[in-house]
């Protein structure tokens, strides 16, 4: 049984079907005791200071032998992964490239080929993958329920973030994950509605700050939507395994994401959006389109290093929440 790392969400059912352990490399980095050390290690090896820290974290996670092989998403996510893949190959790590189709008319066929290639690379039959799909679908359904409880104010934005973000690899063991999820949902269902007056959504890549949810929720707001984390949990209910990963908005163009965000703003009655962007990430540019496309207030928060939210960002967030409160109260 090998540990198969991946750089961003991939059809994890394939890894489970191959009887290996999936490992989201982002989670290895951010949940480590000292994420800073991961960054220092990568910079000591020559990775540029002005490169996204998630990339450096992934680099160190692999170089420190957290995994045996790597699935590198070379299309549909950060283009820096191309260079990372080369570094890994150079270091003798086995790499499986995987790409999501971008701007292709026959996106479905493209993705189908990528999925079949990955099956081949991991030596697994596609029919076996579909068996795992049916099993994991039970958990995905529970995650959709968890997300609903968040909208109802029974689960905090941070709890929602943690459960959805870890569903990329189910912490390597979906049975254990499901047991813990069952326990959590049972407890949460008994909670009374803790919803606050201002309802916020987080969009963009998951934040590198470790206390931003706590800060925002301590200022009288509820986070009722985690855009990308929700996508990481693959919310599409399509029976078609390939179509499901076509419906998954994160690796495709911004317009698909905007359409999803707009629907959720209405359904979840969201008052304001926090657009989190990572320093040196190309996704920052998309902020222009996001601000133009959404008709509720959007504040853009940029983060670089792991750790607490800085005082200036706190001032901006707090003022944003105050502004929304006043608008809501008329």
């Amino acid at each position: 049984m090998k540990k198969i790392g991946f750089t961003t969400t991939i059809p994890v059912e394939i890894v489970f079907a191959s009887k290996n352990i999936p490992v989201d490399l982002n989670n290895v980095f951010i949940t480590s005791k000292s994420p800073y050390k991961f960054l220092e290690y990568a910079e000591d090896d020559g990775l540029p200071r002005n490169t996204c820290n998630w990339i450096k974290g992934i680099y160190t996670a692999v170089m420190k032998s957290s995994v045996d092989e790597v699935i590198a998403v070379t299309q549909g996510d950060c283009s820096n992964t191309h260079a990372l893949m080369e570094l890994f190959e150079n270091a003798g790590v086995k790499v499986h490239p995987f790409g999501y189709p971008f701007g292709l008319d026959d996106g479905y066929e493209y993705l189908r080929n990528e999925i079949l290639n990955l099956c081949k690379g991991l030596d697994v039959d596609f029919d076996e993958v579909l068996e795992y799909k049916d099993r994991i679908d039970i958990i995905r359904k529970k995650l959709r329920h968890l997300d609903k409880l968040t909208v109802q104010g029974k689960i905090s934005g941070f709890e929602n973030h943690i459960w959805l973000v870890t569903s990329t690899d189910f912490n390597g063991d979906f049975i254990k994950y499901e047991n813990e999820l069952d326990k959590f949902i049972k407890e949460a269902e008994k909670r009374s509605n803790t919803g606050k007056k201002v309802r916020l959504g987080f969009i963009g890549v998951p934040t590198i700050f470790d206390d931003i949810y706590q800060f925002v929720e301590s200022k009288g707001a509820s986070v009722v939507f985690n855009e990308v984390q929700r996508q990481f949990s693959i919310p599409s209910t399509s029976d078609d395994f390939i179509q499901r990963y076509i419906d998954y908005t994160y690796p495709y163009d911004i317009f698909k994401r905007v359409a999803d965000i707009k629907t959720q703003i209405v359904e979840r009655k969201i008052d304001g959006i926090i657009h989190y962007v990572q320093s040196f990430c190309y996704r920052q540019i998309q902020d222009v389109i996001i601000k133009k496309s959404l008709d509720i207030p959007v504040i853009t928060i940029e983060g670089n290093d792991p750790g607490n939210v800085d005082a200036r960002t706190k001032i901006r967030l707090e003022s944003f929440i105050e502004m929304l409160c006043e608008r809501k109260n008329g």
Binding site: R316, S319, M323
Partner: protein
């Protein structure tokens, strides 16, 4: 007894003292203010009102310290709220964009129908603020008042960093550029950094506040950038404390 509105800025602490209809303003160096008038009493941090001739009534404060410090004897409101309220009270307007340029902060607040519609604050760089102008004045060995009237032949400055721009200014001096032209260039570069923020929050009417807001040449270049006139608030530097006094 007086009511107090206190704006704890990074360079200056501005205090408004209100008794009846009369408001008096005082300006303190920030570090001196904290040294002389902020005291720890057990678990609490309190403002010591020894600088008053009378007793303090209601005290409302704002400023950078909001999330760092909480005073046991003052109500704290956010800077955006304070500056919005100050501008609303001072102008009597319900629809405008306020540009507040302080010691290290730049804020642009759009107000529609008497409510804050949107706002932008600088977050990573202070190259468009008072501290930047003070540094430039020190290098040029000019008074801020002389810089404030320099608008002709601005020398182009390219640096996007407050510190690197110091070496760029020295480079221009070495090239033999006129000091007043460099001063005009400094003001133009400040305006160019602020303009994109202002353009994102367009309004029919623009007001400007903060220490830097009172500088004519900054206003001159900013008006050129946005193509509209900008009206300085009457008590430019004390707008935050007026906002506090009216909360």
């Amino acid at each position: 007894m007086v009511d107090l509105g206190i704006d704890l800025g990074s360079r200056f602490v501005k205090v408004g003292l209100k008794s009846g209809d009369n408001i008096e303003f005082k300006l303190y160096d920030t570090v001196t203010f904290y040294r002389d008038f902020v005291k720890r009493e057990g678990e609490n941090i309190k403002i010591n009102f020894d600088f008053l001739d009378t007793n303090a009534g209601r005290v409302v404060a704002t400023g950078y310290g909001r999330n760092v410090l909480s005073f046991a004897n003052a109500e704290i409101i956010s800077e955006i709220k304070a500056h919005f309220k100050g501008a609303k009270v001072q102008t009597g307007c319900d629809n405008f964009t306020l540009i507040d340029l302080g010691g290290q902060d730049s804020k642009v607040i759009k107000v529609v129908n008497g409510f804050i519609e949107d706002f932008i604050m600088n977050d990573k760089c202070a190259a468009s603020t008072g501290r930047f102008l003070e540094n430039a004045a020190n290098i040029l060995k000019m008074q801020l008042s002389d810089i404030a009237s320099s608008v002709d032949n601005p020398v182009k400055l390219n640096s996007t960093c407050a510190i690197f721009s110091e070496s760029e200014i020295i480079g221009k001096i070495a090239e033999g550029a006129d000091f007043r032209d460099i001063a005009a260039g400094v003001c133009e570069s400040v305006a160019k950094r602020i303009a994109p923020l202002v353009k994102r929050l367009k309004s029919e009417r623009y007001f400007i506040s903060g220490g830097v807001g009172s500088i004519y040449s900054i206003r001159y270049f900013l008006e050129k950038e946005i193509g509209q006139s900008i009206e300085p608030l009457k008590n430019c530097q004390f707008n935050g404390c007026i906002g506090c006094l009216n909360y």
